[in-house]
Symmetry: C2
Subunit: 238 residues, 2 copies
């Protein structure tokens, strides 16, 4: 079903930052050679946002607490707005969104089926950390695109995703059930490899895969560091 | 689970309009005596919209066609916006949305569990016709509320709900599978009784139930006529 399921999974080393509060300058990496064609970029990032919307809606339905429903459904609405903005960008170029998203449907559906987890807490943590990582990644990747669609897409992806409320909902859930902490910590770790594979699938690879790896590696290190900070903010060990 | 499940279900006579294109003047009915208190109104209508959002999100996830996903998720986003507007109205009054919606959760959840149907087509038709009927009803009911929250709520409920795209998606689905028409026609008929019970549950009843019934009956007749037009627009017999 999802082509990336069969790929070799990289062993992901998750570096811990110390001190955690230290601000890090974004590594300068020239992404032009690794950047996908614009339509592929828009199609994949749009379909990913649609999946985020669907996963968050499902988590909102499954959550029994009103405040949780409220915060999660708001985050779902914000992901839907990002999806709609990216689709509008595809239409602005005269292309058909369905055809542009189609090549990514299988892999992204498979990915979100994994992220969904076993219950709404796993789903919510899963979406929070994977969409956080992929938004960061696609924003970086937009640097390598030509024309003005890239900056517009990056601006859309950088909009509020309602994460403050999501973090609070997850913290409350963990406080109410301390056993949840270790389960969610494991779940967050589990998802990093799959998420990086989705990111990797967006890259346009040259003939020299080793040189591609060297080029992208500092960005992946940053993405994982940001993931670690996201887990930290929840009181979870990455 | 839902208190209205145990109530006696009315036999619903669905009048067919002829000619169908004839514009009908809204019946003048004084709703002040039947109108619920404002907070109850806001809580029930907000929670209903949240349920519409959840049902439509589920239908969008289940639909396999991109254009269907696109149109249904847009409708879900519009229901979410109505929910958020109604919740903002509750907050503006200094009340806590969770507490205000709580009394309606059981009945509305039960109602939407029925509306969900057996597949995304039933779910979509179900939401389209029940939300259409209930939006109409709550807009009428707002006339009976005191203060300026009523008009604001009615204005919110009257906003675009993305129904043009939903109608087209249902038509396409019916055209692609002719057997669907009779199943959806039956499904639409099946839901009218439950939907009118939800509407009825919003009314503040006086001691004289017979006089209440006489007062509300012309409105219900209108709601059912509008339902018939909605089914007609899909080529389905109400």
């Amino acid at each position: 079903m999802a082509s990336w399921f069969s790929r070799r999974r990289p062993l992901v080393e998750i570096p811990r930052l110390k001190p955690r509060s230290e601000k890090r300058a974004a590594t300068r990496v020239d992404l032009h050679e690794l950047a996908p064609d614009l339509l592929g970029y828009l199609g994949q990032s749009a379909y990913l946002q649609l999946g985020v919307f669907e996963s968050l809606s499902r988590a909102a339905s499954a959550a029994s607490d009103f405040d949780a429903k409220d915060g999660i459904s708001r985050a779902a609405g914000l992901a839907l707005a990002k999806y709609q903005g990216l689709v509008a960008e595809i239409r602005r170029r005269g292309d058909e969104p369905a055809a542009v998203m189609q090549p990514f449907a299988g892999a992204v559906d498979g990915f979100h089926a994994v992220v969904a987890g076993a219950d709404w807490q796993e789903c919510l943590l899963g979406v929070h950390v994977t969409a956080g990582l992929l938004d960061d990644f696609f924003i970086r990747l937009a640097d390598g695109l030509t024309g003005d669609s890239g900056p517009r897409a990056a601006q859309l992806l950088g909009l509020d995703s309602g994460q403050d409320a999501v973090v609070q909902i997850l913290r409350d859930a963990i406080a109410a059930d301390p056993r949840l902490a270790s389960r969610l910590a494991m779940w967050g770790r589990r998802l990093v490899g799959d998420t990086l594979l989705v990111a990797r699938s967006a890259l346009h690879h040259s003939k020299n895969l080793d040189s591609d790896e060297q080029r992208i590696e500092p960005i992946f290190t940053e993405l994982i560091a940001a993931h670690t900070r996201r887990m930290d903010a929840l009181g979870l060990t990455a």
